[in-house]
């Protein structure tokens, strides 16, 4: 009973995780400039890969796998915003423009 439940939860999390990962990719393709694309990559991508790791933890279920999967999720949450922030900062520094439909830019000196 418990095994069946864990498998169902794992399956649902795999479906949700892959959907998020797919939509993150769609976002990279549809959004207009690097800054808006970072939104898609940093958030939707993080949640997608995090869900897939949690699904692995729920499916396997032994302590060493669960701890490593959780550590993986924590590292995703720690590193994704930093890489998004650095990419955005560097892109701005080297002069990538915001897309034409942007409404404000208070960083401009």
């Amino acid at each position: 009973m418990i095994d069946g439940l864990a498998d169902i939860i794992a399956g649902l999390m795999i479906i949700a995780g892959s959907t998020f990962a797919f939509l993150a990719a769609v976002g990279l393709w549809r959004l207009p400039d690097i800054y808006t694309r970072m939104h898609s990559a940093s958030k939707t991508g993080t949640v997608g890969s995090g869900l897939l790791l949690l699904a692995l933890a729920a499916h396997v279920g032994d302590t060493s796998t669960v701890t490593r999967a959780l550590a993986g999720v924590v590292f995703f949450l720690l590193t994704a915003p930093i890489s998004a922030h650095l990419l955005a900062k560097v892109s701005y520094a080297v002069g990538y423009r915001l897309t034409d439909i942007s409404v404000v830019d208070e960083l401009k000196k």
Binding site: T19, F20, L23, A24, V26, G27, R30, L31, P32, D33, Y35, T36, M38, H39, S40, S42, K43, T44, T46, V47, G48, T63, T67, L77, L78, A80, P81, I82, A84, H85, A88, K89, Y92, L98, T99, I101, S102, V103, V104, D105, E106, L107
Partner: protein, 157 residues
């Protein structure tokens, strides 16, 4: 003595006594010793310790909730035929001034709906944030100040 250390020592004592060093038993021992410490919180002066744990937990829960909401919102946005974007970069005046608090706030902002920290000014007083929907910048500023920034100040001050 630091209450966190006492808590950890009690958890280790629990593991030794139950003769099981698995992670599950350690977490259980930690929760158990925290409960024991909370019984004598008036005597050992640990009231602050527990309200601090509570505040950090509430920050964590807020963060996870906002992260999921943010992923869902971006996901819905990218499948809409007309995305109706109003992106832009706005300046945010920081109340927090310590380096680790600014780092935490910037990370939390990046992982929440529609906002992404781009840069922090040299004097650490202003955070530049890119947002997908800049139609109401003042509302976003208010949300950050009353949500994450207040929670961070509560958890670390």
């Amino acid at each position: 003595m630091n209450l966190y250390v006492v808590n950890l020592l009690l958890a280790m004592a629990w593991m030794t006594l139950t003769d099981s060093f698995s992670l599950g038993n350690m977490i259980f021992g930690f929760v158990l010793s925290a409960a024991a410490l909370s019984l004598i919180r008036e005597q050992v002066g640990s009231v602050g310790y527990f309200s601090k744990i509570g505040r950090i937990l509430s920050l964590l829960i807020l963060f996870l909730y906002e992260l999921v909401m943010s992923a869902v919102r971006v996901a819905i946005l990218v499948v809409k035929p007309n995305m109706n974007l109003k992106p832009g970069i706005f300046a945010y005046q920081l109340q927090v001034d310590r380096d680790h608090e600014i780092t935490l706030l910037a990370n939390l902002i990046t992982l929440t709906p529609g906002t992404l920290s781009v840069d922090v000014s040299e004097d650490r007083s202003t955070l530049y944030i890119h947002a997908l929907d800049c139609s109401d910048v003042d509302q976003i500023r208010k949300d950050i100040a009353e949500g994450f920034e207040r929670k961070i100040l509560e958890a670390f001050r």
